[in-house]
Symmetry: C2
């Protein structure tokens, strides 16, 4: 949770003057999202999310993120639509930060995801991959293999303070994953951070996918690996094959996965576990004293990494 | 800011089953209020605030707080109305905590209060004092003089770690204020915590007063002393007589202040400054390492305390 920036009412009103949204009725900082300052904004026109982009989001990436949401929403994906100002722009500035208003999506994110949630997610993920196919902008995945090495370098010296032997284990995994990382799978726009708090449900339907601020171009199947990690493990770190079957099965019913993607999935999921282990480890070791964002436990992802490292094929995920 | 409790969607839906509010459409933790967990809830019936009362609010005080809001709202005060369940109750339970749903109030709290805000506040404060006159429940002010001594005792040993000489100065002020604290002023229900983030404005009107969780029975003029501290000082700690004139003048146009209240105001404001100095000092010294609520600077109130200690009469506040 995080609201980093206080928005004075006078500045908010001036900012909204560039939009056709009517008068501001309320604006409340919301305690979701750790990268940006998010506000639930109510105006004469309805409910919106106002986002101020804090320093972890690069300004030059915003046209990709906002353009992608606009592109996907226009193709029927339930994701936020950036609201245009009267001059046609979606990217604006407030309190010295890049800022945008996006549409508000109804729904609740599942605190305890079920196999049904995983099934709905798998289908939506495949549809999102199709919808993103003709998005013209490109953004590399800075948090893929090449990005993991410098992250590890910045943590290696102190990793063992988190857990004895961690530095050596991560170094070994990093070498193994890097050596065999696939470079020839089908690529496209991926979400890359599709955790349960980024997916809303309303009754028995998936009502929204949010937070595209890690979206990038990469292997489509890598997105499925991220979801395996984020949705198919229980709080005690055990793998739930029922959820994995529901997720992967629903994805494959929407989008054909060629044999090489299926063969690569354990490695992709292992790499994804390594990615979240490394970013969490970095945040754990580098978060400033007195910071008001609680860092997430990196070791959760060590368990997941070890699990995927032992999976040889889809049978290891409970699939035939 | 604070959301302390995560509410699983299944528990939320079960909880809402006792109300006639329609289906839940969204529920977002909001980053306002430090004592409770607050959520902006949208259902088929509109927008509401869902509050889970965390440990700082005593369960036995909740009928007073919820009853007061209901009472004031019924008398036309712009404050939240507790929503009744189908069984007529307003106090409920969610995630093992007392919980209530209250109506959502539109408006923005002023990050930079103006004299006009102070004027609107003064008038609303007087109207609230009238509206509370026939509220039947009673709750003592635990944070008045008798409560300040144990607070000070819990801080005295380490107060000088915050500022050299602080323990002695606070002890002296506490003795002086206690010795002359007035016991014979007109009493009633006071808000007791009417800071700018608890007052909403919409255009040129005051649209809401929220957060009645310090409300109690005490001298009405003490509430005005709290507002003087909370609204009439600038960020550089200087007193703004224009705002004080607007606040007190508007209050007095609505409610006659007898001479003894006027004479006591500097002492009441000084006591109020001492109250916030002590509670902030306590939180500063006792907040756990790694707590995610940033304690407020106690020394802001040392400046205000010193200011009021030198005021002899209303001329010191810029009034004739």
């Amino acid at each position: 949770m995080a609201v980093y920036t206080e928005v004075p009412d006078s500045e908010l009103e001036a900012f909204l003057g560039a939009y056709d949204l009517g008068r501001v009725m309320s604006c409340k900082g919301i305690a979701e999202g750790v990268e940006n300052s998010n506000f639930l904004l109510r105006t004469g026109q309805g409910a919106f999310i106002l986002t101020l982009y804090e320093k972890r989001v690069k300004r030059e990436d915003l046209p990709f993120f906002l353009g992608l949401m606009d592109h996907l929403a226009a193709r029927g994906i339930h994701c936020p639509t950036p609201i245009k100002r009267r001059d046609g722009e979606t990217l604006s500035e407030l309190c010295g930060r890049p800022a945008a208003i996006i549409s508000f999506l109804e729904g609740l994110w599942p605190r305890r995801p079920t196999a049904r949630h995983c099934q709905l997610l798998g289908a939506a993920l495949a549809r999102m991959h199709f919808a993103g196919a003709d998005f013209p902008l490109r953004r590399p995945n800075n948090l893929s293999v090449e990005g993991w090495h410098p992250l590890f370098q910045a943590c290696a010296g102190r990793a063992d303070s988190v857990k004895a032997g961690l530095a050596e284990e991560v170094a070994r995994e990093l070498a193994a994953v890097s050596d065999s990382w696939p470079g020839d799978l089908a690529t496209g726009v991926i979400h890359a951070d599709l955790f349960p708090d980024n997916v809303f449900f309303l009754g028995d339907r998936l009502s929204g996918i949010i937070d595209f601020y890690f979206a990038c171009n990469d292997s489509l199947a890598y997105d499925l690996g991220v979801c395996l990690n984020a949705w198919c493990f229980e709080p005690d770190h055990s793998f739930n094959a029922t959820k994995a079957r529901a997720l992967i099965g629903a994805y494959r019913r929407q989008r054909y996965m060629p044999p090489e993607e299926i063969a690569a999935l354990p490695l992709l999921a292992r790499g994804s576990a390594l990615r979240f282990l490394l970013t969490r480890l970095y945040d754990w070791l580098h978060h400033p004293d007195g910071a008001f964002v609680k860092p997430k436990d990196p070791l959760e992802y060590l368990h997941k990494l070890r699990f995927h490292a032992k999976v040889r094929d889809m049978a290891g995920y409970g699939l035939g």
